[in-house]
Amino acid sequence: MNNGLKSSVPTDREVILGILNNSADTLNKLYKAHFAMVLQFILNNNGDEDDAKDVYQEAIIILYNKVKEGNFELSSKLKTYLYSVCRRIWLKKLSQNSKKTGNITDYEDVFEVEEDVEQHEEKDAAFTKMQTALEHLGEPCKTIIQDFYIHNLSMQDICEKFGYTNTDNAKTQKYKCLQRLKKIFFQHK
């Protein structure tokens, strides 16, 4: 699959259209097209392959959300954009871990992406907040809520899955869980 990487690099326009049309194939190609570049950067700047994965995925998510929101202006190559975002995120992580960030080995041109990264950090905080709230919720509430809101199961399915005698009972249970989740969610700062 490594060999197939280079040949199937989609053009920047294809990527943007693909994301807007929810094309899984485009995302797949985009992801595979530039991972090696980021891996090389991270490995040569005090990181390992797990760091590379985390950082790269964050960058892809930033790009994806930006395109989805419709305010992505293609002022440079996507590759450069991804590289700049990864670089920014990694520098932040390094300085958080009190590592020196003096001489970073660069492999691409870089431009200013601070604003995008900061915006993403806010989003990510909201994500973590919901995740923590769900963790605190406990079972079976967590699974019921996830099945309903994330996996889009119907109340009928949930009723059967958890063995409730009728959908009304399942619904009551769901709303009890929801109330608790909301309480936890809004309490955490």
Binding site: L39, L43, K53, I61, N97, A126, T172, Y175
Partner: protein, 380 residues
């Protein structure tokens, strides 16, 4: 059954609110557009007239938006993980890794050939070492607790012998022959310590800062890096809350301030200092040299930096000079954790990503830390 009965002046035939749960259900249906026109009108009127209801609608909307965003990001992350799994990361790592790990890769590939060469090198090292050693004043490690001699280096591992030394060790009945320190690497009772602390043990117990003892079993022994992973096997043990520290993947620089919290006596003791060298005893690159005065019993204790990153495990000290202690680098703990057989885990061991100790004063850090550091008691 209904917690609170709401008298609703606008209760038309459609909306009859008996309790909060039903109100929530209606709010959700309203926000998701599941009410019919008539119901929607009635509800909107109710909302205009009752500020509490309106407030609930707004907060539920906010919550649903958050949930939707969460769900979207979660699915996207899953999708990315699936794609990532298709990439042959290892071969890319081999291609791009900087010099040191290329050496490691070479080693993995040509183990046997290198082994032959290495044995010659080891042989010459041993002879050089013995020449040095016999000449005088060589650095020497002495193990305080047990008379185990390792081929090349003898280590002064910091195990504390609790009982008196006059009795022959194997005949002792009194509990807790040796002591060391260990610390939690997960909330569900996995503890890391030095292998030399628990080696040859018949049974191992740990004691927390409140004096409660728990039986533990040894899950993993890693003689290469002198690391052991224990698991609390005691029905009285309740899961710990989230770990306050993170385990650092990368190495720490010389001069970084570090501290340890361990049990050289029955009460825990703080030791502070700094990383003084990137390599340990006789240039052992799996260890740091740290300038912290340590005592027997400190072995297996956590070494943390000011930001609450766990950077190593205290393992021993040099006898010939004061203040030269050694700690095994934290990445080997991660390696040991990864090496635990999956079926003995039940649940996957995950490493905490955020340290809550960062930015705290030392006293506060210790307060948070103390519940996660244990005295290890070995019976044999």
């Amino acid at each position: 059954m209904p917690a609170e009965v709401k008298e609703n002046i606008f209760s038309t035939q459609i909306i009859e609110m008996r309790n909060d749960l039903e109100l929530d259900a209606i709010i959700e249906d309203y926000l998701l557009g599941k009410l019919n026109a008539e119901e929607t009108d009635a509800f909107e009127q109710l909302r205009r007239n009752d500020a509490t209801v309106d407030h609930k609608v707004v907060s539920h909307k906010l919550f649903l938006d958050n949930m939707e965003e969460y769900s979207r990001q979660l699915l996207l992350k899953e999708q990315l993980n699936d794609i990532h799994a298709e990439i042959d990361v290892d071969s890319l790592v081999t291609k791009f890794a900087p010099h040191p790990s290329r050496v490691v890769q070479l080693w993995r590939k040509h183990k046997s050939a290198i082994a032959v060469a290495a044995s010659f090198i080891v042989l010459s090292f041993v002879s050089i070492y013995s020449i040095q050693h016999s000449s005088q004043q060589a650095d020497k490690f002495v193990q305080l607790s047990k008379n185990v001699t390792n081929a090349v280096k003898t280590q002064n591992n910091l195990i504390r012998k609790i009982s008196s030394d006059n009795l022959p060790a194997n005949k002792q009945i009194n509990p807790g022959n040796f002591g060391g320190t260990g610390f939690a690497v997960s909330t569900n009772g996995y503890i890391a310590t030095n292998l030399h602390v628990i080696k040859d043990a018949d049974s191992v117990y740990i004691q927390n800062s409140e004096g409660e003892s728990f039986k533990v079993k040894v899950i993993l022994k890693d003689p290469e890096y002198d690391i052991a992973i224990l698991k609390i096997d005691d029905k009285h043990f309740k899961n710990l809350s989230a770990l306050p520290y993170t385990i650092k993947k990368n190495s720490t620089g010389v001069g970084e301030n570090v501290y340890t919290w361990g049990y050289p006596k029955d009460d825990a003791v703080l030791g502070e200092g700094y990383v003084s060298s990137k390599s340990g005893f006789i240039g052992d690159t799996t260890q740091y040299q740290v300038a912290i005065p340590l005592n027997p019993g400190n072995s297996g204790g956590p070494l943390l930096d000011n930001n609450g990153n766990l950077v190593g495990i205290i393992s021993g000290k040099e006898t010939s000079s004061e203040g030269a202690s050694f700690a095994i680098k934290s990445k080997y703990i991660l390696e040991a954790m990864r090496a635990i057989p999956q079926d003995s885990l039940g649940k996957k061991l995950t490493v905490n990503k955020k340290s809550i100790l960062a930015g705290m004063r030392r006293a506060k850090q210790i307060e948070k830390l103390q519940d996660y550091v244990f005295m290890i008691k070995v019976y044999n």
